[in-house]
């Protein structure tokens, strides 16, 4: 760990931690406004149906009901986050003519309390004409399949193609080729705070929305699109958010219905989705059918890879189009394939829409790729670490036509994991250690949203007492980004962390920022904050230089709130004194700095990438197929570590989430109905199931990141499923190609293996 920093690298608890652990932090769930009403949403019980009639008369007559809205009360606009492509904006939220999945919203009620609103839902009479439905993308792609969206033949929502080199020629030169098929399951985000919103539309024509979101700016803009209220007349406030994981940066039914009801009544309306709605009527991880072909030379050099994917899109485009692209891109990670081809197809189905979830297509591609790579290594008689070492990305590598990798510590990570495996020594019977390598982006260089703004912007204000306010549109969703940004600001200004206060996620007072997705805030928002702080610092330095009367050849700096000559640190003045004088000298105006960041000339995907290698040890009970995650060790590099406590939190959370994806989480359906829409039935890894974990941080420096920092949030969810699969194979010799790798599947595979052996 480098020690050249004063603030960065310190073990810091989140700056809002006290509020949270004492229960005083106010989430949207806690917002109560005078005259506030409570809203509930009526949802379709059918996977595919025409809406013939909605009769709301009885519901409106119920005492306590103030308003009932249906799709007819909206402007009829279709929304979507891919705003540059109108044909991909395909979701009305309140359906007018047709429902496309069980959970699609058809009406909303505002009443004096939740019980009354709930009762009113039962009084709304919706007449449906049921339509044939399709649930599996492989069925939906057939010519005679029901059409989920009119005019979208074969239900193909979007296709993506990535290719470089000459794949067909390269396969001819391979000594060994493998073809394998995999299936990746769905996963729910299971945020502690469900989707919720309090909307307040005033007689002045302005709308304020408190909501749990990953991007206040996106919600502001999308609400403007859907209501025709001017963007600046909408204020979206995100004070605290109880988790997002990719589920909360699109406009959702709570936000839209609360806004429409409030607009109708000029009264605040609060909607909190139930846990069941959270499971059935919000978005989820994209299930994928994957087919992979991999070719290598005898010595393990990978020459060519071909990947084909069909994804279950669900009823709407959502962010699934990005997941389709990213899974194709990350299917080539983190190796140097000279020849690569990817064809991806996203297919509409009458199921809950699939979208972004932590890892954004990469957990799927990493599971399938790392599983197949181990199979290839075994076929060739090469050690799994060695084949990864032989082909792994290195610094300054260009992914042809796609991306430029600057910093990359993959090989150091492999070395560390190799050492770790050797240290574990001989394992007990039916134990196995599996490895998986991974990489991930530090924010996306995508503007499908069509924003005219910089991707990140920040304002820093220094007050007369030397305290600093940071204004950022970035959203702290529990991942600790406010703490990270405060640390970056404090480091740049050379002051104490306690002197920095962060205002975030409020479009009324903060400059626009695309928000918390794609692991973008440390690098992108961090750069904006650093530049805004630097702007302030330069202003302070001008006053300090004049005050100190130093020779202009000397450089000044600030450290520990002491402005000093770099060559003569003892010669200086107090930061606090200079700030006071500087403000007086600026005619009483506080010192303000502005900063922004938009990646330029950094390829098509991301300005920077992080890398790592994970080793998972499992212990399998060969009688039952049950297995235990014994130990998870992750060698990870994320550039300069801003806050070690933050990284440890990300790692533990990622293992819980990615372990669940690999081991037990799934959303089985019957005719489009999710069968386990409760915490009781949806199996998560709980604290008692958590394995022992260890993180081996590798020191790297990312030139594009603030102080050399890059992603540390999502990448950690990529390797675990693949490492589990590889570990089970090492332990008991069975390979499971479809997620989740449940004990039942292991049990069946063990019995099959026994049968074959007996023959």
């Amino acid at each position: 760990m480098t020690t050249k920093f004063s603030v960065l690298g310190q073990r810091v608890h989140n700056i809002d931690g006290t509020e949270k652990v004492t229960g005083s932090a106010k989430y949207t769930f806690d917002v109560v406004l005078p005259n506030m009403l409570y809203g509930k949403i009526l949802r379709s019980p059918h996977p595919h149906a025409k809406i013939l009639k909605i009769d709301t008369r009885q519901a409106k007559k119920l005492i306590g009901v103030k308003a009932v809205v249906t799709g007819k009360d909206t402007l009829g606009h279709k929304q979507g986050i891919w705003r540059r492509f109108p044909e991909l904006c395909d979701e009305e939220i309140l359906c007018r003519e047709k429902v496309r999945y069980i959970g699609d919203a058809v009406a909303a009620v505002a009443a004096i309390d939740e019980d009354t609103a709930e009762e009113a839902l039962d009084l709304i009479d919706v007449e449906y004409d049921l339509l044939p439905a399709v649930f599996d993308p492989m069925e939906a792609i057939k010519e005679d399949a029901p059409q989920v969206h009119d005019g979208v033949e074969l239900n193909i929502n979007i296709t993506r193609h990535i290719e470089w080199g000459d794949v067909d020629e390269a396969f001819k030169k391979c000594d060994h080729i493998r073809e394998d098929q995999f299936k990746c399951s769905s996963q729910a985000h299971v945020c502690m705070e469900t989707h919720d919103a309090v909307a307040s539309f005033g007689h002045n024509g302005k709308l304020t929305v408190w909501t749990s979101t990953q991007s206040s700016y996106y919600i502001q803009r999308l609400l403007a699109d859907m209501t025709d209220i001017r963007e600046s007349d909408i204020r979206v406030i995100n004070r605290h958010t109880g988790g997002g994981f990719g589920s909360k940066f699109e406009l959702d039914s709570a936000q839209f219905c609360a806004a429409i009801l409030s607009q109708k009544l000029c009264q605040p309306v609060k909607i909190v989705l139930s846990r069941e709605e959270e499971f059935t009527a919000t978005k989820r991880r994209t299930p994928m059918y994957y087919a992979l072909k991999l070719g290598a030379k005898k010595d393990g050099t990978l020459l060519a890879k071909e990947a084909r994917v069909i994804t279950e899109g669900g009823a709407y485009t959502s962010m699934g189009a990005t997941a389709l692209y990213l899974t194709g891109f990350f299917s080539s990670f983190p190796y140097k394939y000279p020849n690569y081809r990817y064809d991806g197809y996203r297919v509409y189905t009458n199921t809950a829409p699939t979208s972004a979830m932590r890892g954004f297509g990469a957990p799927q591609s990493t599971f399938v790729g790392e599983s197949q790579l181990d199979m290839m290594a075994e076929d060739l008689g090469i050690d799994p670490i060695e084949i990864r070492r032989k082909n792994g990305m290195t610094p300054n590598y260009e992914v042809p036509g796609q991306a430029f990798i600057q910093s990359c510590g993959l090989h150091q990570c492999l070395d560390k994991i190799d050492e770790h495996i050797k240290e574990r020594g001989k394992l007990p019977p039916n134990h196995g250690i599996g490895v998986a390598s991974y990489g991930f982006m530090s924010g996306g260089i995508f503007n499908w949203f069509n924003t005219p703004y910089a991707f990140s912007a920040a304002v820093v204000r220094i007050n007369v007492d030397g305290k600093v306010d940071v204004y950022t549109g970035a959203c702290d969703i529990g991942q600790g980004s406010n703490t990270t940004l405060a640390m970056i600001c404090a480091e740049e200004l050379g002051i104490k962390l306690e002197d920095v206060r962060v205002f975030s996620g409020d479009t009324g007072i903060c400059p626009p920022d695309l928000g918390a997705w794609g692991s973008r805030q440390t690098l992108m928002s961090g750069n904006a904050v650093k530049r805004a702080a630097e702007d302030c610092k330069n202003q302070i330095m001008e006053f300090a230089a004049a005050k100190m009367g130093v020779n202009i050849v000397y450089d000044l700096d600030i450290k520990d709130s002491w402005i000093h000559i770099v060559a003569r640190p003892e010669r200086g003045v107090s930061y606090y004194d200079i700030v006071k004088e500087a403000i007086r000298g600026k005619d009483g105006v506080a010192i303000m700095g502005r900063g922004h960041y938009t990646p330029h000339r950094k390829g098509m995907i991301s300005p920077a990438y992080s890398f790592g290698v994970q080793a998972v040890e499992v212990a399998v009970d060969i009688e039952t197929g049950r297995y235990k995650l014994v130990y998870v060790t992750t060698a990870h590099e994320s550039g300069t570590v801003i806050n070690p406590v933050g990284i440890e939190g990300q790692l533990e959370g990622a293992i819980m989430m990615a372990g669940g994806y690999g081991y037990c989480e799934d959303q089985p359906m019957d005719d489009g109905k999710i069968l386990n829409p409760s915490i009781a039935d949806y199996k998560l890894i709980r604290s008692l199931d958590m394995p022992e974990t260890k993180i081996l941080e590798i020191d790297t420096y990312e030139p594009e990141g603030p102080f050399g920092a890059k992603e540390a949030g999502e990448g950690l969810t990529n390797p675990t499923a693949g490492a589990i699969g590889n570990a089970i194979y090492k332990a008991v010799g069975v390979r499971i190609n479809d997620l989740p790798i449940t004990p039942e599947k292991v049990f069946k595979a063990l019995r099959e293996k026994e049968k074959k052996k007996a023959k």
Binding site: T159, E163, K293, D343, Y345
Partner: protein, 72 residues
């Protein structure tokens, strides 16, 4: 040599690339053109997913090789 899409005029460096473009684009006009040549677009797509080696692309590229405009 380059190959021009008969539907949207996009230029590709090979008939195979053009075939990938047309199947990948997948909108109605591209599908209609493909179907008019005796293929079933859905079958080409399914073929793409079910087998490696780009048979769907190759089959279409043979037609494109003959029928699309070739520029110097």
């Amino acid at each position: 040599m380059s190959y021009q899409c008969p539907v949207c005029n996009k230029v590709s460096s090979s008939a195979l690339d053009l075939s990938r473009h047309m199947i990948g684009r997948g909108d109605k006009v591209h599908r209609d053109w493909i179907n008019s040549k005796g293929f079933k677009y859905s079958e080409l797509l399914t073929l793409q997913f079910k087998s490696f080696g780009g048979e769907g692309y190759r089959a279409l590229s043979e037609v494109l090789e003959k029928e699309t405009k070739v520029k110097d």
